[in-house]
């Protein structure tokens, strides 16, 4: 059973780190602000989400599990909000000197 959970952890955390890699590559390589924002939000939501999911089997029930999920939900909420605010800023978007 614990082997199954450990394999689950490894797969989910690997998937999460992949999204952080993708987010960084997107942030550096994508051509304009809005596409970069797309890359960022993927890393934000899925990267951390998968890492949290992978860590769940290793955490203690109930409080540590609740805390882990809460951390992800806070980041989701903040990411969604800041994403919209940044898109608005980008639309006003003037390159800074």
């Amino acid at each position: 059973m614990s082997l199954v959970l450990n394999i689950f952890t490894i797969i989910a955390v690997l998937a999460g780190t992949f999204f952080f890699l993708a987010g960084t590559v997107g942030l550096l390589r994508f051509p304009d602000t809005l596409t970069r924002l797309h890359a960022l939000t993927k890393a934000d939501n899925l990267g951390l989400g998968l890492v949290v999911m992978g860590l769940l089997p290793q955490a203690e029930w109930p409080f540590d599990v609740i805390k882990l999920i809460a951390i992800w939900l806070f980041t989701l909420l903040a990411g969604a909000t800041v994403g919209q605010l940044m898109a608005q800023a980008a639309r006003r978007g003037q390159p800074t000197p």
């Binding site: 809460a70 806070f74 909420l77 903040a78 969604a80 909000t81 919209q84 605010l85 800074t96 000197p97």
Partner: protein, 315 residues
């Protein structure tokens, strides 16, 4: 274990790179972003050094509130930044500054490296006397029993810093509202976040405050979260900062240090020394001080970020 060593080396290189960045980069905004990243890396390093108490403080103060404070300052400086760049100091002054900085850093490095091994520590003594305080977290015991003088002065210093910020107010705005009035679309995403997040944030802040007795946490970290939630509501335009002439505000600003000082002097009668706690009453008194300091710290930290008074109430 070589993997752990690799982790530590990567963290060290990263934090040095970010530190170098903060110094080298010309744009204030980029430097502030670097500083926030630096705070986050420091928190990670404190975790690696098995000091979660310090990591928590660094995460709260270094990343969150200081970042907001600095970005506000950077925003204000932007208009005048180009003008200050024109009077960039000459090579001589920059060389002297560099020499001074390197000397200070070298002296610190020598001081740290010259420490005897094992370094002198009072940690075993502190842990041995932990039971007399009734507190479970040795860091809290040190901060509020063994070295409570430091904590008292710390609480007064942040208050003095706030007075310093207020003293920059123009005469016509004295007693008025700190900072600009924020406006945001009341149906927009920011107002939504400012309605949704603070209730949860207040619970988390109180939780961090409450567990401080037994686990890493405490009033400073909890107060930072509460202050941030309040500032979020203010930034979304849902509430305004209170005018600094309000009596309730001034009472709450001094109540923490006053309770601390009162209990401290009571100790000279009941326990034989200033800031000593009578036997058996250590824990309730520590909790009383922490609770009294909480509103003071929340208000002080939030108002420090909010800035100088600059508007009078509409007549």
């Amino acid at each position: 274990m070589t993997l752990a060593l690799a982790v530590d080396i990567s963290l060290t290189l990263l934090v040095l790179a970010v530190a170098g960045w903060i110094i080298a980069v010309r744009d204030t905004f980029a430097a502030v972003i670097g500083f926030v990243a630096y705070g986050l890396l420091l928190a990670l390093i404190w975790v690696r050094l098995a000091a979660p108490d310090v990591a928590l403080t660094e995460a709260a103060i270094g990343g969150g509130l200081t970042g907001a404070l600095l970005i506000g300052a950077a925003g204000r400086l932007r208009k005048t930044e180009a003008a200050t760049r024109a009077e960039y100091p000459g090579v001589l002054i920059r060389t002297l500054a560099a020499i001074l900085a390197v000397t200070v850093a070298a002296a610190l490095a020598v001081g740290v490296l010259a420490l005897p091994d094992p370094a002198p520590t009072l940690a075993p003594a502190a842990v041995a006397s932990l039971a007399t305080t009734g507190v479970g977290n040795p860091v809290t015991a040190v901060l509020l029993a063994f070295r409570s003088m430091d904590t008292l002065l710390e609480a007064i210093v942040v208050l003095l810093a706030l007075l310093g910020v207020w003293s920059l107010a123009p005469d016509r705005a004295w007693g008025g509202y700190p900072g600009p009035r924020h406006h945001a679309d009341p149906d927009g995403i920011l107002a939504y976040l400012a309605r949704f997040l603070p209730p949860i944030g207040i619970i988390v802040g109180l939780y961090i405050f409450w567990i401080g007795a037994d686990l890493p946490g405490g009033k400073f970290q909890g107060a930072t979260i509460l202050a941030a939630m309040w500032l979020l509501v203010i930034e979304a335009g849902l509430a305004d900062t209170p005018p600094i002439s309000r009596t309730w505000l001034r009472v709450l600003l001094v109540i923490g240090p006053l309770v601390f000082i009162a209990i401290g002097f009571a100790g000279s009668i009941t326990a034989g020394a200033v800031l000593a706690y009578p036997e058996g009453y250590a824990k309730p008194l520590i909790v009383a001080i922490e609770i009294a300091l909480m509103p003071t710290l929340v208000l002080t930290l939030a108002l420090l970020v909010a800035g100088t008074p600059q508007r009078m109430p509409p007549q």
